[in-house]
Amino acid sequence: MGLSNGVNIPEWLKTTGVAACPCCSIGRGKGFIEKNIAAIASFIKEVLEPEGFANKNGLLQQIDPRARLLGILLFMLTAALLKSALSIILLLSLVILMAAASRVNAMILLKRALPVLIFTLFLVLPAVFNFINPGAPVITISARDAFPLYISKQGLEGIAVFLLRVGAMVSLLSLFMLTTAYSDVFRALQTFPIPKIFVAALSMTFRYIMVLIKVAEDSHLARKVRTIKPSTLKQGRGWLASRIWFIIERSMETAEDVYLAMTARGFMGEIKTMTIFEMKGRDYGWIGFSLFILFLSMQL
C-alpha cells in the first residue's frame, strides 16, 4: 500500500515544472464583473463605515443620535420650504460650517452630493425650455412664430433652485450618515414612530448585503483563479446568470436561517428593542436651533 491511502494519483499529476513564463503580454486588468462587484462592495462599505468620522470629537458627534436625526430632518424641511436661491445658499453655507465643526471635509459632502446632482440635472433638464417654463428668453434655439423654442430665465432659475435644494438635502443627509455610526442610525430610527420590524429589516438588509457581496466576490475570485484563457461573451453571460441565481438562492437560505436563529432566541413576530440614549441640554439646544432655522425659513 502506498502512502496516499489508496488514492491513485495519475501520472500527469506527479510531474512538476516550475519555470518563468516565456510570455510578455499584459492583460486588461480587472474585468467588468470584478469592477462592478468591487464598486458595489466599496460603496456599501463606505456607507456603513464612513472613514471613522462618527468616532471624531466634533459638533454633531457629541449630540444624541436621536436629537441629531431630528435636527437634520428639521433642516431638510427648511431646505424644502426655502424659495430663493440665496436663502438656500445660506443654508448650504451653514451645512458646510456644521460639517467643519464636525470635522468632516466639505469635499466629502460634495463627492457624495455630486452624483445625485448630476442625475437630478438630467431629470429636470427639460424644465429649462419655454414649453415647460415660459418666460424671458435667454438662449433662443428656434424663433419660429408657431413653435418658438428657447431656454427661459424662469426655467434656469427654477432648475438652479431645485438643484440647490437637492444639494442641501443630500449634504444634510450625508452629514448625518457620516457623523453617525451605522448602529446608532438604526437605534435612532427605532425611537421614531416607524414600525420596528421595518427598521430591523432595513438594518439586517445592510448587514447581509455585506455577507452576500463577500460571497459574490469569493465566487468571482474562485473562477478567476481557474480561468486560464479569457471566456467568450456568451460564456461570461451564462456564468453571470448562474452566479446571480446562486446569490439569490444563498440569500433565501440565509434569510430562512436568520429567521430560525431569531425564533430560537424568542422572536415571535414583533421585534422588541431597548434604547439607552440619554438626552442632555446640548441635545435640546440643537433641536431648538434647528427649529429656529425652520421658523426663520418660514418667514422668508
Binding site: 502512502l3 455610526a181 448587514r207 430560537a264 422572536f267
Partner: protein
Amino acid sequence: MNEPLFDIKGVSYRYSDKYIGLKDITMQIHSGESLAILGANGSGKSTLLKIMAGLVFPSFGSVIALGKPLTQDILSGEFAGFFRSKVGFVFQEPDVQVFCPTVWDEIAFGPLQLDIPKDEVIKRVEDVLDMLGIRALKERQPHHLSGGEKKKVVLGAVLSLNPDILLLDEPTNGLDPRTQVWLFELLAGLRKFKKTVIMATHDLSIVEDLTDRVAVLSEEHTIVADGTPAEILKDKDMLLKVNIIHEHTHRHGDVVHIHSHGPFARHDEHEDKQ
C-alpha cells in the same frame, strides 16, 4: 428516573418531501445529561437538533419536550416564550445568528424578546460580556469580528437567556485551538451547574472530554449506537462504518503504521509494517 426533557419517538424527516434527513429516531434525553450526537456530514445531526429546538418539525413521529408535544401550534402560543427561554440553540454558521447592529444589541436581543425587565437585561448583557471576555467588542458591528469572536458573541447571545438546555451544532467548527480550549472550559463549567448540553459533532475530542452519552447517526440517517463515550469509542468497526473514523497509513521513520484515524487525530492502535 424523572420525566425526560425530550422524548423522541419514531421521528423521520424528509426535505422537500423527497430527500431523507432522518429515519425512525427514538431516544430520550434527561435533565443534566451531556449528549453528543455523532455522525458524518449529512447524517442528519443538525436536523435532529433543529427538531429538538422546535425550529423544524418531523414528517413522521413525535417529540415531547418539557412535557408538551412539540408542534407548530404549541410554539405559536404561550408555551413558546417558556420553551425559548429554556432551550438555547447555537447554529453551526455564526453569520446567520449575528443580525443586530452591535454585539451589545446581539446579546440583549433574546432577553428583550422574552420581556425580561430592562434593568435585568442590562445586567445580563454586562455579565455575559465579562464572562466571555468580549467587553471590548460590545460596540463593534458583528460582521467585523473574526470567526472565533463571532462564536463567542453567538454563545453569549444564547447564554443571556439563561437556558437550561443548550443545543450546539458543530461547536468547534472553524475555531482556532485557543478558542476551542476556551469553549471546552466554558462547556465544562456549564455542566457543573447541571445544564443539559446536547451537541451535534464529528469531533471525537469533544466526545471524550465533555459528554457522558453519545448517540451515533449513520449515513442512512438512523441511530446505530447509543452509549457512554467509552463504549462508543471502543467500537472501531461501527465508527468506521458510519464514517466517523477512517483507516489511515503513515510513516514514522522507517516504520509504516496502519491505524484508524478520526478528524482530531485519535491514534488508538498501530499496526506496524517494516
